[in-house]
Symmetry: C2
Amino acid sequence: MRTLVLGGCGFIGSHVVDHLVAAGHSVRVFDRYPERYRLPVGGVEYCFGDFRDTMALIEALVDVEMVFHLVSATFPGTAELDPQADVRDNILATLGLLEAMVKFGVRRLIYLSSGGTVYGIPDVVPTAESHALRPVNSYGIVKATIENYILLYHRSRGLQPVIIRPSNPYGTRQGHVGVQGVITTFLNRVIRGEPIEVWGDGSVVRDYLFVDDLAKLCVIAAQSGKVGVYNGGSGQGTSIRDVIAHIEHVTGQTLNPVFKPARPVDVPRSILDMNLVRSEFGWLPETSLEDGINQSWIWLKSIQSATGELPPNSWTDSRLV
Amino acid sequence: MRTLVLGGCGFIGSHVVDHLVAAGHSVRVFDRYPERYRLPVGGVEYCFGDFRDTMALIEALVDVEMVFHLVSATFPGTAELDPQADVRDNILATLGLLEAMVKFGVRRLIYLSSGGTVYGIPDVVPTAESHALRPVNSYGIVKATIENYILLYHRSRGLQPVIIRPSNPYGTRQGHVGVQGVITTFLNRVIRGEPIEVWGDGSVVRDYLFVDDLAKLCVIAAQSGKVGVYNGGSGQGTSIRDVIAHIEHVTGQTLNPVFKPARPVDVPRSILDMNLVRSEFGWLPETSLEDGINQSWIWLKSIQSATGELPPNSWTDSRLV
């Protein structure tokens, strides 16, 4: 199929592109900048523009049959800083996309929501898709609102969406200086010889999923033709303390974390129930946490040695999902 | 207390003003235009401006201790027409208010959400406040998003909010030409000798609450000092067919409704569970449906005879809640 990947140069997007190319799809990428960590992928068409620019989006939609919306203008930890910008750059811009898709007859949409934030503080873990949405931070509020609008466009305008709610994806090509995933951030600090910082006492539990497994799920769900909302996690909970133990094992170094006060925006425990995904798609994650951490570690060391310097600071790079 | 009523010239707002004045509070009203159906209320300070104009809001907030946010830029039935405007004029504008309140140290907020739309198609009726929010139209999506942000500002910024989720308020000073309440719209058509139109077969059930009872609940909840989310309904369900029977009884006329196709945005059955409100505030609605319809009928006839012409067309009047 002819696919458009919005945010296709970002962390998750670049892996989705790989799986689409491998499955024989035609791929157009729309993003603000080229990929940071590798050269353009052969056979992929790249368009550069701003997601909030509806005319640029419309141009990118020409001849497309399926859209992956993997753009987020904010990070979970930073969306609080400016909720108005969060609403404007994510909700309003996504409504522009939905309107354009409906007008130009593009019906298939795969949207990446957030399994780690839309449920808020869950009543039950592992948390199933049917759990009430009670987000407690701006990132989750925005994601839940976009989900609601996508489902509205499904019922009233013929959109055929799949919504994936990823847990905590991590892995190669992820930002790693503190605002994205904790695993690559910690690994990067090990490389730099810097101390790692933990918000809270390390008991916070997350459901870590290797990015390659998540990208594969996105493509399987897209190809299925199914419409619905699906979790995207491993189904397993891991505490920060256990993550640190895995990292010590992989890197062979002892970490001495600095514990800082817990952040009010953090949900104490987040594990996704993967039964629906397993029964609908037969999908299972293929990469163990230790293996995924090892792949991330090898990648981080490789980009360091390739550039001859420390990994670039991605703090200013808000295009990453 | 020194109160500010945003939307205080509108349908519900004008009744809240009455109850605040009666309870001895100092009242400032902020709205786009003066009240449509009566002269300014003695002792009330009126400021005119646009809710989206943050500077005008900040001016209105000076010396205020408690804010009633009763502004909606859209109606439940028309919000679908332009979801981007719905998000911009309601969510973004409300975030401007919340930021201003926090900055200027005004902590008490009473927000009017929507018990008829935030739950979507409820699993259980009567529906309690703890029910999941799964709105199926743009009006409900926007209200649920604003609720989430208000609760976020409570947890992280010290806002002290009460959120009221009214069911289907009706009564005096309501718009009555088709986009607001069905009861005053039907009554107005009886006066004009026009046929009434029903979306669907008349089996749609709603929880009608007389506006004076709702305004009283808003003021009681505001004064309580409590923080939380509360339904605002009668707890009783009434079908459109039963509403028509009541109207026939009150007006002494036989209505011959024209049945039109059901609208996809309509929830089939909406009744609010009022147990929490009853136990927390000891509040009960005082006006029966027949009595409320009678008061609305008398009012509609009075404004007709006072102006010597048919009631004004409020279609263009988007300031009404």
